[in-house]
Symmetry: C2
Subunit: 330 residues, 2 copies
């Protein structure tokens, strides 16, 4: 069982979307799971009043402040100690919740998660892992922007925690790990990537499938693709924008036809981030999951369900064990 | 007027596509332009025999060898001195042609261009600039893979030669230059990008519009986008693959309908690399233009026309002048 603290004030449609997502998630999850909605008591009680059937598994934890989408993360952390983000993470840190999920300000969640939960030894900051939609199963890309100027050792760390997440949460029993580069051969890439290739290949705990080139990202050659946060961030934002552009063209076409064909449905499913849930902050002591601020209810719901799987499968402990082993080896 | 040496043996459909592209280009270019087809004399004469009307502006220069798509560039340079690539570039170097265009092995063209034409002082290798299709005018991205582990000074160099190409060949009188990064503010990016931001901003010859994020690449915020060759190569290949994927879905949809709507046409035009021509190798002493190996005739034709514009507008001299000025300043 898992008790999930949910930032009820995070995202463009808070608190309605988070509350609806919480109710929907509890209907899917087995009955021992519980959700703590974090936000203004009265407002949340009102938002909840329209929902039936899961009231005994939802409670509200009051938080008087809200971090806005444009707030500076470190400033928000200092000046809004009673924000829904800070209160939710403190619940998790104190053991009153097993995970934290938010559709709010990504930077603020990252800073607060790092400062309140702390990191497993061996990390300077958490990695953000994102699921990229493909025609098949989603591919996990990390880091998506938390770490720039990465060392080869950090890329190895991303490979390890990415593989662990894929196993514990994405149901990939033996995930294939790839390294983003500009050619298939081990000697292709920039200096950090070439060094990382050797380190990742030498780790017997990883099923390394070698370099993955740009055109292979969506071919599901690897379950987990490792890159520094600069490349990962550019790529993620570019993919979202290309998807938006093509979605626009496709919608024009479909609406001109007055109906939607099978390919159009496949196309929308491909680009429907709602089916993919959240982006975990990997490396924190605990489970912290970020959902897109514009997430539909289904995405937030899936983020909550992923967080519950992460708790049940002991993700944080497995990540910690990995770094502990690496520390002993070093 | 310009005399273009065309590698008649480069690309998947050589020599038919190059020959057809040469004929089509001459029909569009003003009558003083000429093309030298480089490749096996007899085979090219035969391929040419079916084409009429421009025979007095095409001649053949014999080359007995062909570089294949999988040949190692440096090995090919050493072992195939009579390849169509080497012969064509030597014609250019000797002043018997003003530019070289090839749809062949990119690496081989890059190596041979560098060794035969030489580079303007201040460069270690040429940059590859590619035109990315957008809903509006194409955006020039460089470097697309020739230079990894770039310094901030190299990124400044890319900004300068990219702007020069945009002015001389893409008809952008006062091109906007952007720097690819992970946030809009000057302090966002990896260490090299942050340093490059200061260098580019301080160059009065450039109209710098600041950082460009992943989602802004296709928004035509900048005419020229600067990045290191690692990021550029990943992005280019990723975009081509996403385009292929969406094109596939779109075709299924359109063919299921038995006709093609306005949006589908817009969509295909967006992804039709044929309209964009070649990728110049910027920094060589001369004009060397690489077209995609799978280029349709229209892309090769446009590459030839771009090369002619580059010659007429003194691209190479302008690039050389820039580095000479930079050398004096330093």
């Amino acid at each position: 069982m898992a008790r999930i603290a949910l930032d009820a004030m995070g995202g463009d449609h808070a608190p309605d979307h988070p509350v609806a997502a919480a109710v929907a998630a509890l209907k899917e999850l087995s009955p021992e799971h519980e959700i703590v909605l974090v936000g203004p008591q009265e407002r949340l009680a009102e938002a909840l009043s329209g929902h039936n059937g899961v009231a005994d598994r939802i409670r509200i934890s009051h938080a008087s402040q809200v971090v806005g989408p444009t707030d500076q993360p470190t400033v928000a952390f200092r000046t809004k100690p009673d924000s829904s983000i800070a209160v939710g993470l403190r619940l998790h840190q104190a053991g009153e919740a097993d995970a934290f999920v938010s559709g709010g300000n990504t930077g603020a969640v990252m800073v607060a998660s790092t400062l309140i939960l702390g990191l497993h030894p061996g990390l300077d900051r958490p990695a953000i892992a994102v699921s990229l939609p493909t025609m098949g199963d989603p591919v996990l890309l990390l880091d998506a922007g938390a770490n720039v100027d990465c060392s080869a050792g950090e890329l190895l760390g991303f490979a390890r925690i990415g593989a662990t997440f894929a196993r514990d949460v994405m149901d990939r029993a033996d995930p294939a790990v790839g390294l983003l580069s500009i050619g298939g051969e081990s000697e292709k890439g920039n200096s950090v990537v070439k060094e990382a290739h050797g380190l990742i290949a030498a780790d017997p705990s990883l099923r390394f499938v070698g370099n993955v080139e740009g055109q292979e990202i969506l071919e599901c050659k690897a379950d987990v693709i490792v890159c520094d946060g600069f490349v990962g961030n550019v790529l993620l934002k570019f993919y979202e924008s290309v998807g938006g552009l093509f979605r626009h063209l496709f919608s024009q076409e479909s609406s001109a036809e007055g109906r939607t064909g099978a390919s159009a449905r496949q196309f929308h499913r491909l680009l429907d981030y709602g089916t993919y849930g959240g982006a975990p902050l990997l490396g924190v002591r605990g489970v912290s999951m970020i959902c897109h601020g514009r997430s539909p209810v289904s995405a937030l719901k899936n983020g909550i369900i992923q967080a519950a799987h992460a708790v049940e499968n002991h993700l944080s402990q497995h990540v910690g064990d990995q770094f502990a082993r690496a520390g002993v080896k070093a």
